[in-house]
């Protein structure tokens, strides 16, 4: 999966109203439940960059028996930048590139079909296990719609990968002959 633009996500979370860093992290983890967890340091670094570019401004200080907390608000420029990002269509797979795919190709170049097949089988095993795990998350009685939608996204991709692994497994021998004539 490609890298998500954290700054745009934070801009989006601020669109609902001013928040401070800790709230932003919590909202992020709640809305994107299966995403890579966001570190605090990353939140503050991103906010600082956004402030430098004039997309957010500090909107006040808050102190509740803990450290000072700065609340940030979206500026006019920030909203424009967010709108532009939302309106831009993501290029659908501009390059056929994935570590999985690259690894299989390289395995075929440097090793025999058996090794390639072995790699594919191991990968299939791991994919299946992850698919099952996510299905369990999704079907758990406690699962909310956030979890379901996130799991669905991953399941659909794993399903596609698994289908590709299946068909490629059947084609390894032919493919090898073509690569090593």
């Amino acid at each position: 999966m490609d890298r998500v633009s954290t700054s745009h996500v934070l801009l989006g979370l601020l669109a609902a109203g001013p928040r401070h860093g800790y709230e932003l992290k919590r909202a992020h983890d709640e809305r994107l439940p299966r995403a890579r967890p966001l570190a605090f340091g990353q939140v503050y670094a991103t906010l600082a960059r956004l402030q430098r570019d004039g997309l957010v401004v500090p909107a006040g200080q808050e102190r509740e028996g803990g450290p000072d907390r700065t609340t940030y608000a979206l500026t006019e420029e920030g909203r424009t930048a967010l709108d532009r990002w939302l309106a831009a269509v993501e290029p659908p797979m501009p390059y056929v590139a994935s570590t999985l795919f690259a690894k299989v190709v390289v395995a075929l170049l440097v090793a025999d079909p058996e090794r390639t097949r072995g790699y594919l089988i191991a990968q299939r095993r791991a994919h299946t296990a992850r698919l099952r795990e996510l299905t369990a998350v999704k079907t758990a009685p406690s699962a909310g719609l956030n979890d379901v939608i996130a799991a669905d996204f991953a399941i659909a991709h794993l399903d596609a990968d698994l289908r590709w692994l299946h068909t490629t497994l059947d084609r390894v021998a032919d493919w090898h002959r073509e690569v090593h004539p």
């Binding site: 072995g118 089988i121 299939r124 095993r125 299946t128 296990a129 698919l131 099952r132 795990e133 996510l134 299905t135 369990a136 999704k138 079907t139 009685p141 399941i155 659909a156 794993l158 399903d159 698994l162 289908r163 299946h166 497994l169």
Partner: protein, 233 residues
């Protein structure tokens, strides 16, 4: 003692061999997916395990009993009381309403009409199709029909549920809803499920997956019959 097992099961349709000596164990309470390409014999294996088909050779045992040696009547009774069967489509009686279709197995077991209807309505409710209780199958959507069929398969609270491509005729979202409900209800009742499918996504609902190829369980490593981490949850 294994719960449900096939040992060297052979079965042919005319000259075409569908199963060429399949050996498979199903543990109590597990959800097992049998996957494989079309024509690999997975449906035939399911039918042999469920006692619908009698194998040409080999044995099928359930809780230590050779059910492949039982008479048709005895196997019918077994399927009616201990097993539930769910097919891809077309299993509802066209002239009976949804509630009557679901109540049918109970009526056959001798339950009174009122009690059978009450149980049928409860199951339709659990599957989220209470509104079609008095509707004929021809007037329902595919998803509603399959939910009724699921209710009918589960209404007797079977020990084992055999499902043959239960979502094959449904769209992805509807299929997933049906499967989610099926798996959830099966776990609640501790029903063992044997799920035949060719879709990885459907196999994802299982605890364990067995792959078949050319009438045999594939032990070449392609098959995933060894439980992977996180298999039981």
């Amino acid at each position: 003692m294994t719960y449900l097992e096939a040992r060297g099961v052979v079965r042919a349709y005319g000259p075409t061999p569908a199963l060429r000596g399949v050996t498979l164990d199903v543990a109590e309470g597990e959800i097992l997916a049998v996957t494989g390409p079309s024509g690999c014999g997975k449906s035939t294996l399911l039918h042999c395990l469920a006692g619908i088909l009698r194998p040409d050779a080999g044995q099928v045992t359930w809780r230590g009993e050779r059910i492949d040696e039982w008479s048709e009547a005895a196997r019918s009774r077994l399927r009616r009381t201990e097993f539930g069967v769910l097919f891809q489509f077309g299993q509802l009686v066209a002239e009976l309403t949804a509630a009557e279709n679901v109540a049918l197995p109970l009526l056959l077991a001798g339950t009174g009409r009122r009690a059978a209807r009450a149980a049928a309505l409860a199951w339709l409710e659990r599957l989220g199709v209470a509104e079609v209780a008095d509707v004929l199958p021809g007037e329902m959507s595919g998803g509603q029909q399959q939910r009724c069929a699921t209710a009918r398969a589960l209404v007797t609270e079977p020990r084992v549920l055999f499902a043959d491509e239960p979502t094959g005729a449904l769209d992805t979202v509807t299929g997933e809803q049906v499967l989610t409900q099926l798996v959830r209800l099966a776990r609640e009742q501790r029903t063992t499920v044997v799920l035949v499918t060719h879709e990885p996504r459907v196999a994802g609902y299982a605890d364990r997956e067995v792959t078949m190829r050319d009438g045999l369980v594939d032990h070449s490593g392609l098959g995933l019959d060894a439980p992977v981490s996180g298999g039981h949850w």
